[in-house]
């Protein structure tokens, strides 16, 4: 899916290690003492050290989404998956009663994560976040068509990211959810060639290989092709549109 065309030059072959969470800290010292940190992560896990002034090497540390999940190889996500159906709308991802939480406030970001997918109907007997927990044990969400339809609330990809999910693999996406995922760098919105929501089951152990556009279901032993993320990849990988725009010279580096 072409999202941002390369209207500015993208550094060639940026190497990046996989990250469940993508964030950035500006290398230049900022006058800002703001507590706002819209891509903030659990402080115990925050070790972001990307230098946007570096030419082509991007060093990034990643934060494991939860103790139950590990990310091993570069450019891949590994963990257990949570499977949902078609047209999972933003009210199911984060119900409106929780929208009073402001994602740019670190403590409220965390709280948003604890409500991720809480709006799914009771028919989902296995919940994305177990009662009493604040993080999910599922690092990959697998959905059907039109994932993220409905509201423009950025709280939706933020809630998924803050819960510990690293990627969504769906048959297709609603436009604003896809864009918000890219703009924030919170989750990788990957598209599958086939209806993986009927092939995989909640709890299956899966690996997503980003560079090979491949999803491996270790539980069933099957492999599936994913669609290349295209121009959106470098934006998510940079940590969102601000970081990407600065990196590529679209807006001045501070």
């Amino acid at each position: 899916m072409s999202f941002f065309s390369a209207t500015a030059t993208v550094p060639q072959n940026p190497t990046f290690v996989s990250s469940n969470k993508l964030s950035f800290s500006l290398s230049s010292s900022s006058p800002s003492t703001s507590s706002f940190n819209f891509l903030s992560f659990p402080s115990s896990q925050s070790i972001f050290c990307k230098s946007i002034t570096a030419s082509s090497q991007i060093a990034r540390a990643h934060a494991p989404p939860s103790p139950a999940t590990t990310t091993t190889a570069a450019s891949s996500f590994h963990g257990i998956c949570y499977v949902v159906g078609d047209n999972i709308d933003t009210d199911q991802i984060i119900p409106a009663e929780h929208l009073t939480l402001v994602p740019s406030k670190p403590d409220e970001y965390e709280k948003l994560g604890s409500f991720a997918l809480i709006g799914l109907p009771d028919s989902y007997t296995v919940r994305f976040i177990e009662p009493g927990e604040t993080k999910t044990k599922y690092s990959i969400v697998i959905g059907g068509a039109n994932f993220g339809c409905g509201s423009s609330r950025e709280h939706a990809p933020v809630a998924l990211g803050a819960s510990g999910a690293a990627a969504v693999v769906a048959e297709s996406y609603a436009r604003i959810f896809f864009r918000n995922s890219v703009a924030t760098g919170e989750v990788y919105p990957l598209e599958s060639e086939t209806r993986l929501c009927e092939e995989c089951h909640t709890g299956d152990v899966v690996t997503v290989e980003l560079e090979e556009n491949r999803l491996i279901n270790h539980t069933t032993g099957k492999e599936y092709q994913l669609k290349p993320i295209g121009d959106a990849g470098p934006v998510i990988e940079a940590g969102g549109i601000f970081a990407y725009a600065r990196k590529t010279g679209m807006i001045p580096t501070r």
């Binding site: 999202f3 941002f4 819209f38 939480l101 924030t184």
Partner: protein, 503 residues
């Protein structure tokens, strides 16, 4: 009702269908250009008119492409292009404003100034009449920011006990934007709300964005947007007296599905559209996002200009699709053949005839929101109550979208009622007293939100979404319908075709 106010236009701005297959630009996707989909009985032939006001047609473009090209200071914009677009108006509200401001401050600095204090419109509307402290704090954040930045258009509310003592307070942002003159033909409006597309009714490019994009616009005044291809919907025929624009958009969404227009622009033309009032046109464009659409757009005409006359002094320049512009698909509807519709739970494209659902017992009716809470929506509901002379059989909740709508409900005489207002008719019918204007229970909201669905009930609603949990309870069932159908259903306690009362 809607059609009677507008003189029929003498001409139509587009040519016959045959011309649509001709693409002037070799860079266009020719293979898509001639695709047409007929959804109903063939419509009458369109009358032709000169391609006036479209300027040079060396590069044929749709309305949406033209607006984006101009805003990007480019000669042309082709679907798929990613271009930096200058923003004429950025709107945000209490749910997404604080987060957008947070990102703006983080990225541009604590002392940064917004790109233009007169182009930002901030409208608290979602969670207003609640004791939820965080919701109240979010409005405080907006107020502090507007004071700090000297924002010209901030529709504040301080006294929650009585909205009427807050002269600046409006209510639902999309309706307030129109009523306050912020929707102007040919401009670009971005908003942190998916129903920002409502403003396409004015021939404006209007779409919803997230907090991060809004934070970017706050500082830069522009945004990288992908130019969408356009689907064209030709609606012809005189609007039957029992239909409203809500029925038309439910018909279209049912036809193309909730993802049928994903990444695309939806352009509405035809004699029916030309006959619609501005509020009805807003209903049509409001729900394009329910089909996945990026924006909806209606060619401005005398109805548009008349509406804007006393609302804005800002000069604007409308644009129109060229005769030879490329459309991805064209859908044609003969409106005279349509019947009142509902969208059944739990998806806006789960279309059914209202009369097919007559055995569905309901617990409540809700009339409100940016989709179905405008003055004409309440007038339509009142018309049904008046025609029946009966009382409602289920609790019927009324939430005017804005303070202006609320005043209209209490002051405008309903035609044929002998001078009664909507509020009087609603009271006689046994409805709940019209509530304070806001987004209300359309999206559930905090637990103490008026008319929120706290039990797993069945509701007929004039709102826009019937996803699980949308109005509060995860197991609640929502039937989306026009104000006519909603009022008729209130009178029987079942989903009801309004023709039972209007004929």
């Amino acid at each position: 009702m809607a059609s009677s106010l507008v003189p029929p236009p003498t001409t139509s701005f587009f040519h016959t269908k045959k011309d649509l297959s001709l693409s002037a630009s070799s860079q266009r996707c020719q293979k898509h250009a001639s695709r047409r989909v007929s959804c109903s009985i063939a419509a009458p032939q369109q009358t032709q008119r000169q391609p006036s006001t479209t300027g040079s047609v060396k590069t044929a473009m749709t309305m949406t492409e033209k607006i984006l090209a101009r805003a990007a200071e480019k000669e042309k914009a082709t679907p798929g292009d990613n271009i930096w677009v200058n923003v004429d108006v950025l709107m945000t509200h209490d749910v997404c404003g604080p987060g957008s401001i947070g990102i703006f401050k983080k990225e541009f600095g604590e002392d940064a100034k917004v790109w233009d204090r007169e182009k930002l419109v901030i409208i608290p509307d979602h969670y207003i009449f609640t004791s939820d402290e965080r919701a109240n704090r979010n409005v405080d954040i907006l107020r502090d920011f507007c004071q700090e930045q000297n924002i010209k258009y901030f529709y504040d509310i301080k006294d929650l006990s009585n909205f009427k003592v807050n002269p600046d307070y409006k209510g639902v942002c999309h309706v307030a934007l129109a009523q306050e003159g912020h929707c102007r033909p040919g401009e670009v409006l971005l908003g942190t709300d998916s129903h920002t597309c409502t403003a396409g009714a004015f021939g404006q490019f209007a779409t919803g964005i997230g907090n991060t994009d809004a934070g970017f616009v706050l500082g830069a005044g522009k945004l990288l947007l992908k130019v969408p291809p356009t689907l064209r919907f030709v609606l012809d025929g005189e609007m039957p007296s029992y239909l409203l624009a809500k029925d038309l958009i439910l018909q279209i969404i049912g036809e193309i599905s909730v993802a049928g227009a994903t990444y695309k622009s939806m352009e509405f033309v035809g004699s029916t559209v030309e006959s619609l009032t501005m509020e009805e046109r807003m209903t049509l464009c409001n729900m394009v996002v329910e089909a996945g659409g990026k924006n909806g757009v209606i060619p401005p005409d005398n109805v548009t200009y008349k509406y804007l006359e006393d609302k804005t002094s800002v000069p604007y320049e409308p644009v129109y699709s060229d005769q030879q512009a490329s459309f991805l698909s064209e859908y044609r509807f003969d409106v005279t053949k349509l019947e009142p519709l509902v969208a059944k739970p739990h998806s806006p494209d789960n279309r059914a005839l209202a009369r097919e659902c007559k055995d569905v017992k309901i617990n409540r009716v809700y009339i409100g929101s940016c989709t179905g809470g405008k003055t004409e929506d309440f007038m339509a509901a009142a018309k049904v109550f008046l025609a029946s002379g009966k009382k409602v059989k289920v609790p019927t909740f009324l939430v005017p979208a804005t303070q202006k709508v609320w005043m209209d409900v209490y002051s405008l005489p309903v035609p044929g009622s002998g001078g009664k207002t909507c509020s009087q008719i609603f009271e006689e019918a046994g409805c709940d007293t019209p509530a304070s204007p806001s987004c209300g229970a359309c999206l559930g909201g905090p637990k103490d939100t008026y008319a929120r669905m706290n039990e797993p009930q069945v509701c007929v609603s004039t709102t826009n979404r019937n996803f699980p949990g949308r109005m509060g309870h995860r197991e609640g069932e929502i039937y989306l319908a026009s104000p006519y159908t909603a009022a008729a259903s209130a009178l029987t306690g079942y989903v009801t075709d309004p023709r039972e009362f209007l004929q």
